[in-house]
């Protein structure tokens, strides 16, 4: 299958006087329909990678190809249009606009590109709100919704322009267990129904274990890239274990796919 997104040797360096290297040559391809978890410790570079995938940030070097085109050759407005059509964002803190109702929030990405909502877009917005289960609250201001409901609206908003890739940054990081479970299930269902590609940044090993593919990044490099379905449950859990535990596990089990990192 043709790749949806192809990252090659992405390097990102911050600062000029004091240089901090966040990514040290990341190459990565995402296949259409894939449901991928991106894991790694804080400061590992996963947020930087997510920002570059979302075209919110430009790499210092390397390229990102979509449909054979180098995306970062586009100017800022070109990137905005690309982002609007291709990518849906679900953030940790939902990031709905409090000035607008749930329904209006869902339509924002459509209107940002086309000005006015078409009847078809309005129908789609209502259908999406129904799909994520908050159609009864669609005329509420986002501040009048619970955390779980807000995140559901945010998911509907991410999907309004029928993006090919949805980037979710800790989508359950700010929710209670029950809402967290529901959101996790919802994202997976949407992936299966629409074949939308997902990349989810998460600390939640349960989410990671349920993904088609898990990519772990550390110190600006991909240190592990495996498919839980192809490993035994024990191997998967060993791979997903926190670093401190891995030392002890290492002797007993063969860790999944790529050997563990230097630590």
């Amino acid at each position: 299958m043709a790749e949806l997104i192809d990252l090659r040797d992405i390097v990102k360096v911050y600062g000029t006087a004091v240089r901090t290297t966040a990514l040290r040559g990341v190459s990565l391809s995402l296949t259409p329909g894939e449901y991928t978890a991106l894991i790694g410790r804080s400061g590992s570079g996963k947020s930087t990678l997510l920002n570059i995938l979302g075209t919110l940030d430009r790499p210092t070097s390397g390229e990102m190809r979509v449909d054979g085109r180098d995306v970062f050759a586009l100017d800022d407005d070109g990137l905005a249009v690309f982002r609007n059509r291709m990518i849906g964002f679900v953030f940790q803190f939902h990031h709905l606009l409090p000035e607008f109702t749930a329904y209006e929030n869902v339509l924002l990405p459509f209107r940002a590109a086309r000005g006015r909502a078409t009847p078809e877009a309005e129908r789609r917005a209502r259908r999406l709100l129904e799909r994520v289960g908050v159609s009864d609250r669609m005329d509420n201001k986002s501040t009048n919704l619970s955390g779980g409901q807000q995140q559901r609206v945010a998911i509907a908003r991410a999907l309004i322009n029928e993006p090919r890739l949805v980037l979710a940054d800790e989508p359950t990081g700010n929710l209670d267990t029950e809402s967290s479970e529901a959101i996790k299930g919802l994202l997976r269902e949407i992936n299966r129904e629409n074949g939308t590609t997902f990349l989810i940044v998460t600390h939640d090993r349960h989410i990671a274990a349920g993904c088609d593919r898990v990519i772990e990044i550390d110190d600006g490099r991909i240190i592990r890239d495996f498919r839980p379905a192809e490993e035994t449950p024990d191997e998967t859990w060993a791979a997903l274990a926190p670093c401190e535990c891995r030392e002890r596990i290492r002797g007993d089990l063969k860790p999944a796919a790529i050997p563990p990192g230097p630590r």
């Binding site: 919110l56 407005d77 982002r83 803190f93 590109a113």
Partner: protein, 404 residues
């Protein structure tokens, strides 16, 4: 379209802030409109009081330049002086021929060919100086508005009957129907019957003026058919100086003086009044602009999260800027329209409280002035939004999104 939608929503949801800044703009514009109308009304009333019932341009014979008898010599200075026969009048050369030409121009409200000379009236040992104005009574009324201000008698003059200022009559203890002897500097004189008394609300005129037919003055002073002056009124008083300049070019033998020339101090007063009013208006406008700018600057900081999200979902940079420009323009437009209305209300109230006061004067807001206020305030609002808009459009979405 999207930017308009978001801008209006930001304004609507920032209620307290929007109301506060709108109130500021309304007050500022209302004061500006009120002040402007007041100054314009005051000036119009002042000008009309000063020159409304007097000639705007007067044409007379220029003073004679004494002819130098000695040849010019750089080493010596020659003092010469012209001695004229006291009481004799110098008529305007071709005066009678010029009047029809002025009529033909069709730019004058009133053209009053007149003969004016001085005489006196003896009262016991004292002699009271008087001015004899000979002119057509109808035209005189159109210029000086005398008929309405007659306090006694009829508005009528003849070869042996005149109109007198009321203060002069009071001094002489004479009334309508009495006879008065008017003497001329040469010693001649005649008896006249008083037909009526007028009150021109000016002591000098009320004590000194005597109106009689043009031909009578011409005949008393031996002017033949000559005129000593041509008094003119134009439609717009402020064009008088320009018209006078044109007349100087066309009829160079006559000395044309506009009211601006003879009332230079009034003109200076009006100008300094205008400039102080402009200064106040400028500062009002400046504070309105700064108010809008600071409210929008705060708004950009408050809404930085929203701006970041809008950019992340693919809003173009220029649209993000426009969201704030539109807010500035809308604040300026709405605030100034309401402000003009409020200013107009202030004027009506001001008029109502002064109704019946004889010193009151009419104040009105011209549509043009109101439209200008709205235009300037809207432009100022738009301009004020530029810096905040630039800040908004340069905002990096990553920073605001990371920090939640």
């Amino acid at each position: 379209m999207f930017d308009v939608f978001v801008a209006f929503r930001f304004l609507r949801e920032g209620r307290a802030q929007t109301v506060l800044i709108l109130t500021g703009i309304i007050l500022g514009v209302a004061v500006q409109v009120f002040l402007n109308a007041l100054i314009i009304g005051l000036q119009a009333s002042l000008v009309s009081r000063t020159v409304g019932r007097s000639p705007h341009i007067i044409g007379t014979m220029p003073d004679l330049e004494p002819a130098a008898v000695l040849p010019a010599d750089p080493g010596t200075r020659t003092l010469t002086r012209v001695v004229t026969n006291e009481g004799s009048l110098k008529p305007i050369r071709d005066g009678a021929a010029i009047v029809p030409q002025l009529v033909k121009l069709g730019i004058f409200r009133v053209i009053l060919p007149a003969a004016r000379g001085s005489g006196f009236i003896l009262q016991g040992q004292k002699s009271l100086p008087v001015i004899l104005l000979g002119s057509d009574l109808e035209d005189t009324d159109r210029l000086y508005d005398i008929r309405r201000r007659l306090t006694a008698g009829r508005y009528e003059v003849g070869a042996d009957s005149v109109l007198l200022g009321k203060d002069l009559a009071a001094k002489l203890r004479l009334g309508v129907g009495s006879t008065v002897r008017i003497s001329l500097p040469g010693g001649s004189g005649d008896l006249f019957r008083i037909n009526g008394l007028f009150d021109l609300e000016n002591q000098a005129l009320n004590e000194g003026w005597i109106l009689m037919p043009l031909s009578r003055v011409q005949n008393l002073f031996g002017l033949d058919r000559g005129l000593t002056e041509i008094e003119l009124q134009v439609e717009d008083v402020f064009t008088a100086e320009k018209t006078a300049a044109d007349l100087r070019a066309v009829f160079p033998s006559i000395r044309w003086r506009s009211w601006q020339e003879t009332n230079a101090s009034l003109l200076t007063a009006l100008q300094s009044q205008s400039s102080s009013s402009y200064m106040i208006q400028l500062f009002v406008l400046l504070s309105v602009t700064l108010g809008i700018a600071s409210v929008l600057a705060v708004s950009v900081v408050q809404k930085s999260r929203q701006i970041g999200i809008l950019k992340a979902i693919g809003t173009l940079t220029r649209h993000v800027g426009r969201i704030f420009i539109i807010q500035g323009a809308v604040l300026g437009l709405a605030g100034s329209i309401l402000g003009v209305t409020a200013g107009w209300g202030l004027i009506l109230m001001f008029q109502a409280t002064r109704a019946g006061d004889p010193s009151s004067f009419p104040i009105t807001v011209s549509f043009g002035a109101a439209a200008l206020s709205v235009f300037v305030a809207t432009a100022a609002g738009t301009l004020a939004a530029f810096l905040p808009a630039r800040r908004a459009s340069r905002l990096n979405p990553i920073e605001v999104i990371r920090n939640g």
